[in-house]
């Protein structure tokens, strides 16, 4: 079977086939004009989506308890980014499928130290001229791991019942060490807008890399709650969706569909695939399916369906129509 190269010239291939005038160039220009006008009308009528960015400042102002809880979680090492693993750190949270572990293999090439990058370093900037904060920071950094864990566990538990008033997050009395001072300072820094700049541009002038700021925001709930309202979340077929009432990425329907079904919604799953390694599992699955799409000419049954389904008989109905007793086809 000739798969890749046609062994005959077009002249031989079309020998005996009646040729009729067909203006490809005119067709192209009609398509350009027609589609251009249609796109122009759509743009004029419907515009395009543009929900503005969410800043750390807005997060700190609109959900201060979530902000402080997230910051405490960074220090505790319990946030998503802190436990992520490669490419950010060696916390060991990588997705694997049996021995298949590309996330580990490619290593930590985007080093992020959540506690230091998102909390300690920004606080050090804020501590200039603030001896109370300077002391609190050094109390924290010089304490041993067990002491830090005690303080932050107690503080996180207390945050579950925190209240917010007058720019301050308040919790019940307890032994939290330097944390209340540090968290209060970070909240003030966040609400002033200073953290947005520090997490992207600290130490250099130009900024095009938003890894730190976005990882920090992604550790909290505020961004995800907003995404939920727009149906962008992973369990809402979010990959297909657009903000507002606009069509989204309908071509991703199959990719996002897998996240809605077993085994990727289950904790146990099957064959080692489950919700815990869903990202890796879906990438592997979709790579295989895309390869299968490309290789359809080689796959039995899939390549035979067009012959069995009579759609082609509609497309080529002139060809399949009973021949009128007209003049024979002229080459």
């Amino acid at each position: 079977m000739k798969m890749l190269k046609q062994e005959m010239t077009q002249e031989e291939y079309y020998r005996g086939v009646r040729m009729v005038p067909y203006d490809l160039v005119k067709e192209l220009f009609l398509a350009l004009a027609g589609l251009g006008i249609f796109v122009f009308v759509l743009a004029a009528a419907f515009s395009s989506p543009d929900v503005p960015t969410v800043t750390i400042q807005q997060w700190a102002q609109n959900d201060p308890v979530d902000f402080v809880s997230t910051a405490a979680g960074e220090l505790a090492g319990t946030t998503t980014s802190a436990g992520y693993g490669a490419p950010y750190n060696n916390a060991g949270g990588e997705q694997t499928w049996g021995p298949f572990a590309p996330q580990i293999w490619f290593g930590q090439r985007i080093p992020i130290d959540s506690a230091n990058d998102f909390v300690i370093q920004p606080l050090k900037y804020a501590s200039a001229g603030n001896p109370g904060l300077t002391t609190a920071i050094s109390t924290w950094t010089s304490a041993d791991g067990d002491q830090q864990t005690k303080w932050v566990t107690a503080y996180t538990d207390a945050l579950a019942k925190a209240t917010y008033a007058d720019g301050k997050v308040s919790v019940a009395d307890g032994d939290y060490g330097p944390l209340p001072v540090m968290m209060s300072a970070l909240l003030t820094q966040g609400q002033s807008g200073g953290l947005d700049g520090l997490l992207t541009g600290a130490g250099h002038f130009y900024q095009v890399d938003y890894t730190k700021a976005l990882l920090f925001m992604g550790d909290g709930n505020y961004l995800f709650d907003l995404a939920d309202q727009q149906n962008l979340s992973g369990d809402q077929w979010g990959m297909m969706n657009e903000t507002g009432s606009y069509p989204g990425q309908t071509w991703l329907w199959l990719y996002t569909a897998w996240y809605q079904v077993w085994p990727f919604t289950s904790d146990t799953g099957v064959l080692g695939l489950n919700g815990g390694n869903a990202d890796l599992g879906v990438v592997v699955l979709m790579t295989l399916l895309t390869a299968a799409l490309a290789l359809i000419p080689l796959i039995p049954i899939l390549r035979d369906i067009p012959r069995w389904v009579p759609i082609h008989r509609l497309i080529w109905r002139d060809y399949y129509a009973p021949k009128k007793s007209a003049a024979p086809a002229r080459a």
Binding site: Q10, L24, S47, P87, H312
Partner: protein, 223 residues
């Protein structure tokens, strides 16, 4: 009567010079080109009579959509990624870009459906089909980097979510969706050039082989 018939390439050198030209790469390239895609195959003014269905226009409409994607994209990149947030004209060009991308994917998929049900890979056209799927994949990647370049809430959330797929597969170490600079550079230069190049290859393959014949009684080509 159609004038389509074989003839010697116009470029054959006179016999006396053939020994001296025997090693010429330039001549060999030109002869290969003349054999693979002579001008009357690139721009034929006639088609087989069975090319008579609206399904056949989905491909050219996809190309038209791509042209408008690139034109609107060029304007957006010339004015910089912040422009469309700041002015009404800028937002309009972003809208042109947004809707032409929607049209590009809509007609590309319609073209895929059409080619599937016509089994367009027959008679030596399997590679054309495969290249088409590659275009589909790279277009999705191009659109993805575009969504990340919008500088709005959508970009933020897509970045935060998609990083898990990239990181889980390992390529997140090299392809950092949270790095706007990297995503923007890929979107405005590297990926559009790649898409355009592969589309040109796809069109050359279609034109050099011609339109596939209808499915015959045994599934192969028939007169």
């Amino acid at each position: 009567m159609s004038k389509v018939m074989s003839r010697p390439p116009a470029s054959a050198p006179p016999p006396a010079a053939m020994d001296a030209d025997a090693g010429s790469w330039t001549l060999r390239v030109r002869k290969t080109w003349d054999r693979v895609l002579p001008m009357d195959h690139l721009l034929p003014h006639r088609q087989p009579y069975y090319v008579g269905s609206w399904v056949y226009v989905f491909g050219v409409v996809t190309i038209a959509a791509l042209v408008w994607v690139v034109v609107s994209g060029v304007v957006l990149s010339f004015m910089g990624p912040q422009w469309w947030h700041d002015t009404g004209v800028g937002h309009f060009f972003n809208s042109l870009h947004f809707w032409s991308v929607q049209m590009f994917f809509i007609f590309m998929v319609l073209h895929l459906w059409g080619q599937y049900f016509m089994a367009g890979w027959r008679d030596g056209r399997a590679l054309t089909w495969m290249i088409g799927v590659v275009i589909f994949g790279i277009s999705i990647l191009t659109a993805f980097t575009g969504y990340l370049s919008q500088l709005n809430f959508d970009s933020q959330y897509i970045g935060i979510s998609a990083k898990d797929a990239m990181d889980g597969a390992g390529i997140g170490a090299f392809f950092n969706v949270l790095n706007f600079g990297q995503m923007y550079g890929l979107h405005v230069m590297l990926l559009p050039i790649t898409v355009t190049f592969i589309v040109v290859v796809h069109i050359v393959m279609v034109r050099s082989r011609g339109v596939v014949k209808p499915i015959g009684p045994e599934g192969g080509a028939a007169k």
